[in-house]
Symmetry: C2
Amino acid sequence: MPSSIKDVAGKAGVSIATVSHVVNGTRYVSEETKARVYKAMKELQYTPNSVARSLRSRKSKTIGFLIPDLANTFYTSIAEGIQHVLRQKGYQLILGNSNEELELELQQLRMFNSQLIDGLIIASTASSMNELEGVLKGDYPVVHLDRIPQGCEQDRILVNNDEAVYEAVSELIQKGHSRIGMIGGLDRLSTTKERIAGYRRALEDAGIAVKDSLIRMGNSKQDCGYELTRQLCEETDMTALLVSNNQMTLGALTYLKEHRYRMPEQLSLIGFDDYAWSFLMDPPLSVIHQPCFELGEKAANVLLERIGQPLSKGKEYMLRTMFIRRDSF
Amino acid sequence: MPSSIKDVAGKAGVSIATVSHVVNGTRYVSEETKARVYKAMKELQYTPNSVARSLRSRKSKTIGFLIPDLANTFYTSIAEGIQHVLRQKGYQLILGNSNEELELELQQLRMFNSQLIDGLIIASTASSMNELEGVLKGDYPVVHLDRIPQGCEQDRILVNNDEAVYEAVSELIQKGHSRIGMIGGLDRLSTTKERIAGYRRALEDAGIAVKDSLIRMGNSKQDCGYELTRQLCEETDMTALLVSNNQMTLGALTYLKEHRYRMPEQLSLIGFDDYAWSFLMDPPLSVIHQPCFELGEKAANVLLERIGQPLSKGKEYMLRTMFIRRDSF
DNA sequence: ATGAAAGCGCTAACAC
DNA sequence: GTGTTAGCGCTTTCAT
């Protein structure tokens, strides 16, 4: 049985109010009283019960981060950025994983509800805010990250998906490619839509007709990247491929390696996200780099500001990607 | 302001006790009363306050998982295994990250304390249980995972590190190598010690003298793998290298690629953990595969069992690794 | 078949 | 400079 504030007060011969104030430094307490309290705390191995504290004060100094795929280092890199700023401000981070399933996401959100958290950062798997109705009730500030559900008017942090893909595809076109495959994530997500829009725009601006058969979408996971690449290789005559997420890129590369595709001679490839392994591939992979850590930092900063000042309406913050040219195209 | 049980009781014209029992299905309530309560809950968008619930019932249906490095997919894969079993039993998972820093680990543990969690799974960065004194106070069951602090008598889940490395090094020796480099993680960790023990044993059994200069240890991160590889390449005449963690392996590969080492002609390499990119390297990497998902499942199952039955002393569960031979050696 | 009330551990308003 | 006390939202015992 953990000891409570009462035990400490008893042992130190003071009131629980005094103990509370010593613990929180929230009003003056004489040095000798303080010393007695600290001694008692130590002897009893006292840790404040943060559940009771949260219940009473209606704040937990904890923020939640709900991600769609724990296996995707894009999100864990973001988490590191978030943690970096939270730590400095005395906040804790707890993570949830929706596994790209709406039902699981709702379940996690219901758990987050009930003032367990003072704020939430979410990369939602929902396509529209309607789907989150009833679980995002405005009890705490929310910052949307990466993918933004339709109708979202809260704060949101994202990258210039459309432009990023426009630029990459334009490079491919300039190299002479016209049959360019495109693999996207779940088609309900804003990121997928924006990236495909950029793809279309680049082709159109270059006067190349868009063939829908060259565009494939799936669930953002590795297996799916593998499968969609297989389809494109078998069913189309593409000469270049852009994969819009790092997990799917790994899947694509696996298929290509198994079938001994030579890059860039047989196929040019551009992936998303830049991790150590991108450079280690054979050949080194050209990628669209996303500022993960910075996305996390930005989201955390915006959220903390919003916690301090809940009013006024949400804003959009767009960070920039960077195209990194290596030998795969 | 979220609505409370009182609001629901008022609206439904029943007592709060009845609402509670309806919510939890914990005693008989007539169908019509139930219906009225459900209606009120819906209209008020009522979500039970889990903080209050935890405070009162002294359980949270939540378990914590403290990991040393969010960027290391070994741990996120484990987290997926944990989540897989927790979900089925109605438990939630919250993650913490110690970033391999003892101070941060203690901080996270202090937050976990205070019955916010019903149990803990931890891959500790501490070398001995002494360092965790005062924060692991026995208020909830604990399962240690992967690395086991000295003096630990609680449940622990690990792999056969010693044997795994013994086997891999023996394979290298059989190929004719005698000057074999070894890169380990933090030297205070059990995993590092066991892996290095396996390395020494393999050499000794083969009648090869162990040179300490061929053994290097660092902080388990990518940069460190890079740096230690540089040292070994510049300062020794090794012909083979074993790296005992996937992050450090990426660092090692980066150095080797930058300096155009040819594998396995110039250097044979064996890494730890098997991810998609291991196969995609040039050449495909031989690795010691660890059963991550299964480790997570096992840990969660052991923990839940322990929550049900807290007595009796901790046991050790050892899962097996698997050597995967590819072309890098 | 349902209600009244105690109390989990803490914070903060009020009192002296 | 410190103590008393109400009450956060809930579960659960004891009533009836």
